[in-house]
Each structure stands twice: as C-alpha cells, then as structure tokens.
Amino acid sequence: MRIFLSERVLVLLVFLLTAAALFASTIGAEYLALGAVQSPVFFPRIILSLIIALTLTVIVQDVIEKRGVEPIEKWGALIVFVIAAVIYANIVTRLGFMLSSVPFSIISLWLFGIRNPLIIVAYAILVPGALVILFNHVLNLPLPTSPFTYLF
C-alpha cells in the first residue's frame, strides 16, 4: 500500500489528472468549425493522449520496480527558499528590482549558510545596486523601478 502512495506515484497521478482534465477541456471548447486539421486542438489532443499513455506507463514501471526518491536534507530551508523565490519573481516588477532584490538576497544568503550580518547586508545592497547602475544608467536598459523613485 505504501508504494502506491509514494512521492513518485503521487506526482505522476497529479500529471495524469492534469493531462486528462486538459484533454476534457478541449472537448467542450468552442472553436470555429474548420475541419480536423485546422482545428486548434488537433495537435494538442495528440500530445495530451501521449502524455496520458506515457504517465500510465511510468506509474506502472515505478510501482513494479518500487523506485524511491532521494530524501531532502533541509526541508525547512527548501520551503522558505522556494516561497521566497516565487514571491520575488512576482513582486520584482511591482516594487522594483532593487527593493525586491535586497530582502531576497538577505533570505537567500542566510539559507545558504552565511551568518555574518555585515557581509549579508553588504552583498544584498551592493550586488543589486551594481546591476541597477549597470543596466539603468550605463546600458540604458531600465530594470523595473520602484513606485517611489525612478533611480532604482
């Protein structure tokens, strides 16, 4: 029973259900009646069918061979880092490159084991600052700026 609930099988089941749902969404969708080949879902349906068939094959393979995954050594650090990276990617255009990169750099350096606060703060300000100067003011390729000033 445990093998059926392993991380591998669960991940593959998510893929299988997603592919099946995407395939189902093409059936009811309203597209211009242009014939099979001209239909926008002609090609994606073939690919989604292949994804479903291949995912089932991989699930069977993994269950038969009872393959496991490598354990994660630092769950907490990973979760915080992934959340920080995804939030950073979402706010960088709203808060500007500098204001979003400083807190992200502090979190990242801390999670990767740097404990000297002076080095953390210096890196978090100097590296994004250097990139802002290079792109915004030397190359004239403006990075996203903050709502407070056009300088960074």
């Binding site: 001209q38 879902v41 650090a77 990973l78 990276a85 990617a89 740097i114």
Partner: protein
C-alpha cells in the same frame, strides 16, 4: 565575389571597422554569457548605436555581437548550468557535468574551438556558396521541414538516460507547454482559460532558465550548504590538444554541415540546429554512451552547429530578404535603415560591401578564440566564490535576464513556477533535456504538420511519396529510432549467450 575582395579589405582594415569588430565581439560574448539576455536582445541593444555609423561598420558591429553572443551563451551553460541563450541549452547536457567533475576549463576549451571552427566554416560557406544555398533553401517546404524536425525529435531518445518513457513524457510536456497560447494557423487561443497573458504562450527562455537554473538552486538549497562552489577547480579555458581530436573531427565536420544547412532554412534557428546536431552526434559518436554525462563530443556537436548557423542564417537574409529568425529580422531592419536593400540584386549591386561584410564575419570568428579565452579567465574568479553568493547571484541574474526578454512580469512568474516544476521532475529522475527539445521543436513540428496535411488534403502518406527530400529524411528518422532498439536486442542476446 572574389574580385571584390581587395576593395572589401580596404573598407575592412580601417581603424573604425577594426575597433568595431573587436569591441562588438567582446560585448557579444559578455551579453551572451548573461542568462536571459540572448542574441536577439544583444543585437537589438546595439542597434541604436549603429545609426551614426557608416554601412559596413554598422553591419559588422551587429554581426560581431551576434556571433559573440552565440558563443558567450556556452560560458554560463557550462559553468553554472544556465544557458545564456536558448541555442546553448544543448551545451548544458555535457558541459555542466564536465564542470562538476572539475573539467570546466576543458569543457570551455572544446566549446571555444568548436564554436570558432563552426563560425569560420560558416563564414567561408557564406562567402562562396550564398546564392547556391539560397536556392537549396527554397526547396524546403513545410513537409520537408516537418521531416527535418521529426528527425531532430529523435534526439529525445538519445538524451533520455535512465528511462525512455520518462524522456518521452518530458518531451511531450515540452511540446504541450509550447502549444499553449494562440493557435499558429487560426489564431484562436488554446488552454488560456481566459488569461490574456497566456495568449502569447510561455516564453521559452523563462521555462528553460526556470527548469535548469532555478531548479538547480532549489536542489542546492535542499542540501547541506557547500562552503565553496563545486567549480573551485576552474582556472581558465584549456584548449584541447591535437591528439584529443582523434576520432572527433568527423563529428565536428558533420555538426558544422548541419548548422550551415539548418541556418539557411527560414524559421528554424540555432537552437534547433544545436539539438539536431546533438542527436546526430549521439547517434554516430563512438562514445555515444557517455552523452549527457560530460562527453566532449556532445559539446562539439552543440557548439559547432549553433555557431555554424550564424553564417547560414545570413544567406536567406542577404540573398532573399527573408529573415530566418528574430535576430536576422533585427539585422534586416538595420540593413534597411542603412539604405541596403536585401534581395537577389544585393549580391550583384553591392559586391564590395557584401564581400567586406562576409570577410569581416570571418575575422569576427577568428577573434572568438583569443577573446573567448581571455574572458573565460576573467569568469574564473567570479565562479570560484562561495556557493551562497553564486546561487543568490544566479537568481538575481535570472530575474534580470527574463525581464529583458519581453519586459513582461508574467515571464518572471513563469520562471518561478518552471523552477518548481523542474525541481519536482528532477526528483522523479525525469530528464530535463527532452522537455526543452519539445519546447524548441514543438511549434515548428505542429505548424509544418498541419500545413503539410492541408497541402496534401489530409493524406499523411503523401508526405513521403510525393516529396523525395522528406521521404529520405523519414527513412533516416526510422533508422535512427530502429538502431537503438536493434542494439538493445543484440546486447540482450549477447548477455543471454554469455550466461549460458
């Protein structure tokens, strides 16, 4: 063309032209090495600076940045597993594993020499055979291109180490991700679910950087921190010795040929050439089993082909006025801005200028060798820093690079989620290379398949029977797929025989 060379050299060997070649190549290498900037952005960045220049130096500056950026992409692909440009994605497969086992300098050496050879040959081909190659390109319709792309897709089989089913699954996921957005034929949105930002689809570079670079950072964050980067051994570019080329020259020649031929086909591009060449290299190399584990043949196949494309891509641009991709479209715009009208008459009416441009392109590729070595040496101390600084810097550079692709905040989100997807898939031992191959080749595969079916009124068999070039390519594809199965059956029989 050759009679115009003396006058062309007079244009070329001026102070302005030589400084332009030198600085343009340096700038191209640096911009190409920055993840996400890419050749198109690099060429577009310098376009405004050409407006004050005369015709030849203006075009030469763009060519220098173009060729330099294609090579520069390999530096970050090898050293930090982050392709600076999409055309360097295939270089990651073998370049990064070599860097991980302390051979980063050697990997860069193979990439440098292969890039230079690929670029030089493409410059000669451009000079000699531009009109002839242009007419060959005109014979490639959608059916022939479909057959060519299908052949390229067979490299999924060769890069799927571990499980073929997982490799094929990753390839299909890549093709599907590329199909999200506006349908290439009708323009109707697919799988956008009311989100207008999805109409233009997932940006290729955002996905590539997410699944390669960001997922790598996630993996390192999940492990106990290493004090120093794994690239501590890297001290600079190490050129391969002549003896090390034994058994590799034929592969290099084949990759250069593939790059040149694919370069002249409009709409294919350097990334496609690199993957097709990688597949062919994997199929024909005597060291095929080492591909994906740090085999120099893989770097040669990818880098020689993607640099060979640079000359080939200029053929339809110059001779026909048809830009093959976004980069040559920017070049075409520059030519027009400078009063040069590309097309059949260009070669006849502007022989001196064209000869100067082609000869300048040859010099640019020669400059790649010393400049690549010098800039690689500068990269060494940067990459010898602590993992914490390097990984944080990688995320910041990825964000910068992705933002510059289209200036679209949505691409940054795509990069973030592609990083998570890459991390999850890599934990399940799903290879990432097929996903990228699917995303690169998928759109052309779909478009040419559907165009072909429309042309043949839905008759798939007419693809092979009515089109000899396509028929030949289908036979090669079938052999390419059958050969690994034949080898597997043979080795199984041998094992059974040995066990009695």
């Amino acid at each position: 063309m050759f009679s115009a060379l003396p006058d062309a050299f007079a244009i070329l060997f001026t102070f302005e032209a030589l400084v332009t070649l030198f600085l343009g190549t340096i700038l191209g290498i640096i911009l190409g090495a920055m993840p996400g900037i890419g050749s198109t952005v690099a060429v577009a960045m310098v376009l405004p600076f050409t407006l004050g220049m005369s015709q030849a130096p203006a075009v030469l500056l763009l060519l220098a940045v173009y060729a330099g950026s294609v090579y520069g992409g390999s530096i970050s692909a090898i050293l930090i597993n982050t392709p600076g440009t999409p055309q360097s994605a295939a270089t990651c497969f073998d370049g990064y594993p070599m860097a991980q086992r302390g051979e980063a300098g050697k990997a860069l050496g193979w990439a440098t020499v292969s890039s230079v050879v690929g670029g030089l040959v493409s410059a000669v081909v451009l000079l000699i055979a531009a009109p002839q190659l242009a007419s060959l390109a005109l014979n490639f319709g959608p059916i022939e291109t479909f057959a060519l792309i299908l052949l390229g897709m067979t490299c999924i089989v060769s890069v799927s180490s571990g499980s073929l089913a997982k490799g094929l699954l990753a390839g299909c996921i890549g093709i599907f991700l590329a199909s999200v957005g506006a349908d290439p034929i009708t323009g109707q949105p697919r799988f956008t679910f009311g989100n207008w930002q999805l109409i233009s689809g997932f940006n290729l570079l955002a996905v590539v950087i997410g699944i390669f670079a960001l997922s790598e950072v996630f993996i390192r964050a999940s492990k106990k921190a290493a004090t120093v980067s794994e690239l501590a051994e890297f001290k600079g570019v190490v050129l391969p010795r002549w003896s090390e080329w034994a058994g590799r020259k034929a592969g290099l020649a084949k990759s250069v040929l593939i790059g040149n031929v694919i370069g002249i086909l409009p709409g294919t591009g350097a990334a496609t050439a690199a993957f097709i060449s990688y597949a062919e290299g994997q199929r024909s190399s005597p060291r095929k089993d080492n591909f994906g584990k740090g085999e120099p043949d893989g770097i040669i196949a990818s880098e020689a082909a993607n640099n060979a494309v640079t000359g080939g891509a200029l053929v339809p641009t110059m001779a026909l006025g048809i830009p093959g991709d976004a980069i040559t479209a920017v070049m075409l715009a520059t030519l027009t801005l400078h009063g040069i009208t590309p097309g059949f008459r260009l070669m006849e009416d502007n022989q001196t200028l064209i000869a100067a441009i082609f000869a300048g392109f040859f010099i640019i590729n020669l400059l790649l060798l010393p400049l690549g070595m010098a800039l690689g040496r500068i990269a060494a101390p940067i990459l010898r820093m602590k993992e914490a600084y390097l990984m944080t810097g990688v995320v910041l550079l990825c964000a910068v690079g992705i933002y510059f692709v289209r200036g679209n905040p949505f691409d940054l989100m795509v990069m973030g989620f592609a990083g998570v997807l890459g991390f999850v898939l890599r934990r399940q031992n799903v290879p990432m290379a097929p996903l990228v191959i699917g995303m690169v080749l998928g759109p052309t595969l779909e478009l040419t398949l559907r165009q072909g079916l429309i042309l043949t009124r839905g008759d798939l068999s007419a693809f092979a029977t009515g089109h000899p070039i396509a028929g030949g390519l289908f036979v090669v594809t079938a052999l390419a797929l059958a050969f690994p199965i034949f080898r597997a059956v043979q080795s199984r029989r041998r094992r059974v025989a040995e066990n009695g």
